[in-house]
């Protein structure tokens, strides 16, 4: 709050954005109806800032906006040619790091990676593919894990720990060898306590954690991001908190 009781604001590409104490730039921007491209951010979870797609510039320094605490008077630059260029490269990096065959993917049209890529104007991978070998885990009767599409956003890890209270998922390895693991000595999903109703199952932005037998119930072409680009929709997910009330 400022002295006169008005909400604190910062500037995002010149537009005033109100924020509540403790909000990050991303949280405040989304709540105010402004989209900043992102992949690993989800409004239900504490931001951790690993995908770096939301990188913005403040006072000449670049930083992830999802973890940047909002401060009154700060001027945040989000739409700039170099930042957009970097975002495209980051998305391309995620495509070449895994194995993404969108035309045959159950998630196509509902996939955030694909949607953000289209929105940013990414038309090819540009970089050399890594073609990693990542076997599937089809052990569970109702769920399939296709690790080929994992973008290591840790949303399932966070959801399982924070919401489901289970720790079904975790990350192991390091560097380019970093990978998703499940909480079982056998390494197989069927031996974990996962349930189809878990938040962790729902939260995957790409096509890793897949419900069996319903993949194409809604045909490609009639899915969420087939209708409108993600930038026009992300705001619908975000909690549209009213600008903070004046403190007594």
């Amino acid at each position: 709050m400022t002295a006169n009781g008005a909400a604190d604001v910062f500037l995002l590409d010149g537009e005033p954005i109100p924020f509540a104490p403790g909000q990050t730039v991303m949280q405040a921007a989304l709540a105010a109806g402004h989209y900043i491209p992102h992949l690993c951010f989800h409004h239900d979870f504490k931001p951790h800032g690993s995908c770096k797609v939301c990188t913005v510039r403040v006072d000449g320094a670049t930083t992830a906006s999802c973890t940047l605490p909002a401060q009154a008077g700060m001027s945040v630059e989000c739409k700039a040619d170099d930042l957009e260029e970097n975002r495209r490269t980051l998305v391309q990096m995620l495509f070449v790091e895994g194995n993404h065959f969108c035309p045959s993917c159950e998630k196509s049209g509902n996939c955030l990676l694909q949607a953000v890529a289209y929105d940013l104007g990414v038309l090819d991978a540009d970089l050399d593919y890594f073609f990693p070998s990542r076997p599937l885990d089809a052990s569970h009767p109702d769920l399939l894990l296709d690790f080929n599409r994992c973008i290591l956003c840790e949303l399932c890890v966070r959801a399982s720990a924070e919401v489901d209270g289970k720790h079904v998922f975790a990350l192991s390895g390091r560097g380019i060898g970093k990978h998703l693991i499940v909480n079982a000595e056998s390494g197989r999903l069927v031996d974990t306590t996962v349930a189809v109703t878990d938040k962790a199952v729902d939260v995957c932005p790409v096509g890793v954690i897949i419900r069996k037998r319903v993949g194409f119930a809604v045909p490609i072409g009639r899915r969420r991001f087939d209708a409108r680009p993600v930038s026009a929709q992300a705001l619908e997910d975000a909690p549209r908190r009213a600008p903070p009330e004046a403190a007594p």
């Binding site: 690993s50 170099d82 790091e97 209270g165 998922f169 909480n183 000595e185």
Partner: protein
């Protein structure tokens, strides 16, 4: 959720390991190290059992074990031989020696022998640049490898001699100190600096009353801790771990930060390739390091200290623990230190397990807490939210040594050394092409040329200052000064003479960063591997201008969006060598604008071998002019 207790083959021994660490989850990395010592690797049942005992999710324990290069989730052999793979090891012939050992043991590099006896592979620089090439056997350092020593090692492994019965001379590490200044010359009896710090408060009035007119008018003179902090600030000491942050300000920020417990952490991770000064300081001046930590604890009011020692220096752990115990017995650690009521401070040693990124202070703290060594989001910084979210000072080994000297001799004395913006002295770790590799202590402001002359370097082409994340300079810049205001350095000083191929130097560093990226953030995780691949492509004579442009574009991205310093600096060696040694790249580049990384005809080689064909129609026909130039590459 905690998993049910499963059967485990090692329960009694694992229980002992867990008990030795108080069953604390924060000790997870230590526990995993000790558990691995039982079998040489961490079998799935061991992970499950430890998770159960520590009340941690199993996946979390596996995830931590999977992060560190020296912890193995698959069998790695009873004898695990790792060749240090810094460029200076290579220059000293490490790859030939590796081949020799593999041949002698009949094994393939990177694979465990069929009988499970031995594996041979490479690892990042092990901190023995002055006695390269070096190896680690089950974590124990063996420097100065020669064909004879390789054969001896092979024989000991074949005969399955227990590591503790190997001849001691194999493990002898030399200090190689060639130039001393105030730090390496200092003779400080244990406790002297502390006594001086404690006495300073009492002495202060006297001093203010002397000729120091500039201090007149200072109302209340600082007592004890505050006076010590004053001296550190007055000395203008800056951190020796690379970033050069002003130590006094860091200590003050920690001292004034709200918190219940304060911590002092000594960063002895020393992972920057070509750096080995902390090894020598901990071997020769362990008391001074601990004295500096205790001075810090006194100044900021900390009660608990940690030394985070890189796993490669495991051999230093026992003597360090002995020094800690001796100081405890002498009341230089423990409660009411030197009889000062309320001055309680103790130090615990933690070992790393093969992760360069754990030298980054927030990743180091995560590791200390028993987690994957992933750098935290900052702010908040460790001075306010460090170990267990409490105020924490992290300083380099050498910084603590300097702090002890300042506590003893005063800030004014120290700021009289070096340059105004870089006070004091700096330990350099000289390695590579020179007659006398080793440790050289100089006042800040010394020129590169001076160091080259002193270490007996001739026909020098380049010097890599401060390691791969530092700066590579050529002969035209040897007049530059080693100081924060010109060439900042954490200590590494790798010398390359005119026979060396600077492209290969950069390629070695690109491999280093790709191997050491923690993988948290996209730009560094994928970018360092892309950089490595580009360098390998150019090395394979398949690079073009397009690839050079790619390096520059990746650099812009990594600079702008990496999460920590590793990603920010990963392109430095490539850009520096491109700028100063461009011909080393150019003679490898295709004249084309673009050349695919994938060699289509090369990919058919296996099919040709299997079918026993090598005729023209078993090769892809090259059609246009440019492409036939590609096919003929490498031919006269």
């Amino acid at each position: 959720m905690v998993d049910a207790a499963p059967p485990s083959p090692n329960v009694a021994r694992l229980d002992a390991v867990v008990a030795a660490h108080g069953a604390r989850a924060t000790e997870l990395v230590q526990i995993l190290r000790d558990a691995q010592a039982l079998d040489g690797w961490l079998p799935p049942a061991t992970i499950t059992y430890l998770a159960h005992r520590l009340r941690l999710p199993r996946a979390r324990v596996e995830g931590v074990a999977g992060f560190y290069a020296f912890l193995h989730l698959t069998p790695a052999g009873r004898y695990r031989v790792l060749f240090s793979d810094n460029v200076t090891d290579r220059m000293a012939g490490s790859l030939d020696l590796l081949d020799r050992l593999c041949t002698s043991l009949w094994i393939e590099r990177g694979k465990v022998s069929e009988d499970g006896l031995v594996s041979v592979d490479t690892t990042s620089c092990t901190g023995m640049g002055d006695q390269a090439p070096a190896i680690l056997v089950n974590g124990r350092a063996i420097p100065r490898m020669t064909p004879e020593r390789v054969d001896a090692v092979a024989e000991l492994i074949r005969a399955q001699v227990d590591l503790c019965e190997w001849p001691a001379d194999l493990f002898a590490v030399a200090d190689n100190v060639h130039r001393r200044d105030v730090l390496l010359d200092a003779i400080v009896a244990p406790g002297d600096a502390l006594r001086a710090a404690i006495a300073r408060g009492a002495r202060e009035p006297e001093r203010a009353g002397s000729a120091r007119s500039w201090r007149e008018g200072v109302p209340a003179l600082p007592q004890g801790p505050a006076a010590t902090l004053e001296e550190i600030k007055r000395s203008n000491l800056r951190g020796r771990g690379g970033a050069g942050f002003t130590t006094g300000l860091k200590w003050e920020a920690c001292r004034t930060a709200p918190g219940t417990t304060r911590y002092v952490v000594c960063n002895a991770d020393e992972g920057e390739p070509g750096t080995f000064k902390d090894r020598v300081l901990l071997a020769r001046h362990a008391d001074l390091v601990l004295e500096g930590m205790t001075v810090c604890a006194y100044a900021i009011g900390a009660t608990q200290g940690f030394v985070y020692l890189r796993g490669e220096y495991e051999y230093l752990a026992a003597p360090l623990r002995a020094t800690i115990a001796r100081r405890r017995a002498a009341n230089l650690l423990g409660t009411s230190i030197l009889g000062q009521r309320g001055f309680d401070f103790d130090v615990v040693l933690h070992l790393g397990a093969g992760a360069y990124v754990c030298g980054e202070e927030s990743a180091l703290i995560e590791s200390l807490e028993g987690k994957r060594g992933v750098p935290r989001n900052r702010p908040p910084y460790p001075v306010t939210h460090g170990y267990l979210q409490q105020p924490t000072v992290v300083n380099n080994v050498e910084t603590f040594c300097a702090a002890a000297l300042i506590a003893l001799n005063g800030g004014d004395w120290y700021r009289g050394l070096g340059t105004p913006r870089s006070t004091g002295t700096k330990l350099l770790c000289v390695s590579g092409d020179c007659a006398r590799p080793g440790i050289y202590e100089y006042p800040f402001g010394t020129t590169v040329r001076q160091v080259l002359a002193d270490c007996g370097a001739e026909r020098t082409q380049a010097v890599q200052v401060s390691g791969p994340s530092g700066t590579c300079i050529g002969a035209a810049e040897f007049g530059r000064k080693l100081a924060f205001e010109d060439l900042p350095t954490a200590g590494a000083f790798m010398v390359f003479d005119d026979t060396r191929d600077m492209f290969e130097v950069a390629r070695n560093f690109a491999h280093f960063f790709a191997h050491e990226s923690c993988g948290f953030c996209t730009p560094c995780r994928v970018g360092t591997t892309l950089l490595r691949n580009v360098m390998d492509k150019i090395h394979g004579m398949r690079g073009s201008q397009h690839d050079v442009d790619r390096i520059r574009r990746l650099n812009r991205l990594l600079q702008a969006s990496s999460h920590c310093g590793l990603g920010h600096t990963a392109c430095n060696p490539l850009l520096d060598t491109l700028k100063r040694f461009r011909p080393a790249y150019e003679r490898r580049l295709q004249s084309l604008d673009f050349e695919p990384a994938f060699d289509l005809d090369g990919a058919l080689a296996r099919a040709r071998a299997m079918t026993g064909r090598d005729d023209a129609s078993a090769h892809l026909a090259e059609v246009d002019e440019d492409a036939s130039a590609v096919a003929g590459r490498g031919q006269p």
